[in-house]
């Protein structure tokens, strides 16, 4: 009897501790340190925790860019990853070896809430690894509408018109194009945002490129992006100090109208909205023009995803899945919208952008709604060479010809493909 009593007490103690364990699960969420990602993650956490007081989530920050890639890879490889983490979709995700490191979400009910075009960018085979977190983005040219009005310019539909606008701007004493080579990743846009045009000129380039059958240096449409960088340098489109200017100080020049254009992702808009709320409505967006005015469209970046590593198990895994389900819901989108200025469309079924979106975002939405958009190469091919940013800076500062840079980039791509173990390399 005594024994039984003890047993019951023990059992009760155990079940209480089990309940209390379930009651207080705390998760860690690894997020890159950009303002936009941090605000998005915080907005999601606040709304989610309000509904689920038994779960707490803390953000851990990491650097962005290649440094961040390295941290994520190392932590996954050493089983030291946080419970959930935020990371790019597309080719960067493929390099994480997701089939062996991440939890497959394909049987989760919330997958049905995700817009189908996003899924291939977070999948390998039949397995799905992430939910879209935040908005998609457009890659193209951000421009200062006030400057355009003052000089009577109109949005260019071909590269020639763009060059003509730049000549007019130079004459008026305004730097035509913002170059922020101090943050090297920003130098890639002329090449990457040109992918809509590449796809128009060479349909199916992505598959041929992935299969080692198409090269940048031998495909004139693909080479064009590098040539634009050379033209920018030779025709003095860049503002003074372009070689060392960094991303955020550069945005100030654009907001103040000291430069007219910035080849960039619409991701920059939320930073502009935060730092220069009075000027953000002066900023518009147009697709990077190509050779033909008829085939003028925008290159689209998919949102980053939130993923669960296989090291997250038990109650923490349940809580993590619950949080991912919240991210992939209209409620989650509303939570973000309440705190962060959207930079583009969400990829959650049934979500709508608020009525008061920024002008540049409605410019972008117009391309998407009219069907004039295509994903960037890194979302339709697993290969992206890591040296592209330095090569773009080298061309944009006149140290390399477009042909040299493209040939170099092809070599870089070959290395990446071999590292990924793709067939045909």
């Amino acid at each position: 009897m005594k024994r039984l009593a003890l047993f019951v007490v023990l059992l009760m103690a155990l079940s209480i501790s089990a309940v209390s364990a379930q009651e207080s699960v705390s998760l860690t969420y690894l997020v890159d340190e950009s303002q936009n990602s941090q605000d998005t993650a915080q907005a999601l956490i606040d709304a989610f925790v309000a509904q689920n007081p038994n779960i707490s989530i803390t953000i851990e920050s990491r650097p962005g860019g290649t440094e961040g890639d390295n941290i994520v890879k190392t932590r996954l490889a050493t089983d030291d990853m946080t419970d959930i983490f935020f990371y790019n979709s597309g080719s960067l995700l493929q390099a994480l070896n997701p089939a062996q490191t991440l939890v497959d979400l394909s049987d989760q009910p919330f997958i049905d809430n995700i817009v189908a075009s996003f899924l291939p960018t977070v999948s390998q085979g039949d397995a799905i690894f992430g939910v879209p977190t935040g908005t998609g983005m457009g890659g193209g040219i951000l421009y200062n509408k006030r400057v355009y009005e003052e000089l009577g310019l109109s949005v260019p539909l071909t590269w020639e018109e763009f060059a003509a606008n730049n000549a007019a701007l130079l004459e008026a004493g305004i730097s035509p194009v913002l170059a922020t080579f101090g943050d090297t990743w920003t130098a890639q846009l002329f090449v990457l945002a040109d992918y809509y045009n590449v796809e128009q000129a060479v349909p199916g380039f992505a598959d041929a490129y992935t299969a080692n059958e198409a090269k940048y240096v031998t495909t004139p449409a693909a080479l064009a992006g590098f040539q634009y960088l050379q033209q920018g340098f030779e025709e003095s489109w860049w503002q003074p100090d372009f070689a060392t200017t960094r991303f955020e100080p550069g945005l100030e020049l654009l907001a103040n109208g000291e430069v007219a254009h910035y080849p960039m992702l619409t991701f920059a808009l939320s930073t502009i909205a935060e730092n220069f709320p009075d000027q953000v409505n002066d900023i518009g967006f147009f697709a990077q023009p190509g050779t033909s005015a008829e085939a003028n469209g925008a290159t689209i970046w998919m949102p980053a995803g939130t993923y669960i590593p296989q090291t997250t198990t038990g109650a923490r895994l349940d809580a993590a899945l619950q949080f991912l389900g919240f991210i992939a819901s209209v409620e989650g989108v509303d939570a973000i919208n309440a705190q962060v200025v959207p930079n583009g469309p969400y990829l959650i079924v049934g979500s709508i952008l608020p009525d008061d979106v920024l002008p540049a975002v409605s410019d972008l939405a117009a391309y998407i709604d009219s069907g004039m958009s295509y994903p960037a190469l890194e979302f339709v091919s697993p290969i992206k060479g890591p040296n592209l940013e330095q090569l773009c800076v080298a061309v944009g500062t006149g140290q390399m010809t477009p042909e040299e840079a493209a040939a170099n980039y092809d070599l870089d791509v070959e290395r990446q493909a071999q590292q990924l173990g793709l067939p045909g390399w």
Binding site: A243, A394, N408
Partner: protein, 293 residues
């Protein structure tokens, strides 16, 4: 006779197990990682798994067009920093060993940059060297001396970083020279005073007798120059483009890109290169030292 043998027999009396702790530490922390590096440099390594590919990584590393530029830049950087440190620190050491008031204070001041973190120095100087608003160019413009784009101009970026390196490393070089000069017996200075003036003292006493200090300075700063990374990375990240890439920043970028096998091969190459350059240099200097005795 007995006396001479004693040290040897003392050495012999240590039993082998006595060396074991040191051997374990050496093996686990130095020998095994070194051998592992040699192995992984011959694999395509994703951190998740490694495939053996022989010498492909080495072939690829030498095909890398950035590597040639990186090697050239490393050589320029090492020669320039070690040369300038010797040329500038010797006169400074002579000044700071003279009968000067505030001598210790000045010695402290010149040593101060050595104590500051290299990353902090790098970030500070990239702000000071900002072309249009940086302090350096503001001063130069006020003196109407022109305003170069220190870190943005591809042909100047590497030299700018090297100059900051010289500023930061000058303290150690000067201290080495000071100790070299102070260890010269006073009789030589007496003799020099009788023979002639300051020039004789410099040319025939200080210069030849502080040669060992000079060799140490050259050797240390040359090795430092070959291995330099932190200053370059904080100031230019090897840019603009590849203009200030050195061997270590090329290797680091390959790590960042996830080419772990390739970058390990790069590190093995760096190891061999430093050995090839430094070993004969050390032999040469050591022999000179022996001859002097």
């Amino acid at each position: 006779m007995n006396h001479d043998l004693r040290p040897k027999s003392v050495l012999r009396t240590y039993p082998h197990w006595f060396y074991l702790p040191a051997a374990i530490v050496f093996g686990v922390f130095f020998l095994v990682p070194t051998l592992a590096a040699f192995y992984f440099s011959m694999t395509r390594w994703t951190l998740f798994d490694a495939t053996y590919i022989g010498f492909d990584n080495y072939v690829r590393f030498f095909q890398d067009p950035q590597l040639t530029a990186g090697l050239r830049n490393t050589a320029i950087y090492a020669v320039m920093t070690s040369g300038l440190k010797v040329i500038i620190s010797l006169p400074l050491a002579i000044l700071l060993t003279s009968r000067l008031h505030l001598k210790s204070l000045l010695r402290g001041i010149i040593f101060f940059p050595v104590l500051v973190s290299t990353v902090a120095v790098g970030i500070t100087f990239s702000v000071l060297m900002q072309p249009s608003q940086g302090l350096i160019n503001t001063v130069l413009r006020a003196l109407s001396l022109g305003a170069p784009d220190w870190l943005g101009n591809p042909s100047l970026a590497l030299i700018s970083v090297a100059l900051v390196d010289v500023w930061k490393g000058l303290g150690i070089a000067t201290v080495l020279f000071i100790s070299g000069i102070l260890s010269i017996p006073n009789d030589y200075f007496e003799a020099a005073r009788l023979e002639g003036g300051a020039w004789v003292k410099f040319r025939y006493v200080i210069l030849p007798l502080s040669r060992n200090a000079a060799f140490t300075v050259i050797l240390l700063s040359f090795i430092g120059g070959l291995r330099t990374f932190d200053l370059i990375w904080t100031m230019t990240r090897g840019g603009p483009g590849f203009a200030s890439d050195v061997l270590t920043s090329v290797i680091f970028k390959q790590y960042q890109a996830g080419f772990y096998g390739l970058s390990t091969a790069g590190n093995v190459i760096l190891f061999i290169l430093v050995t090839i350059i430094v070993y004969p240099l050390m032999r040469f200097f050591n022999r000179r030292e022996l001859e002097e005795l």
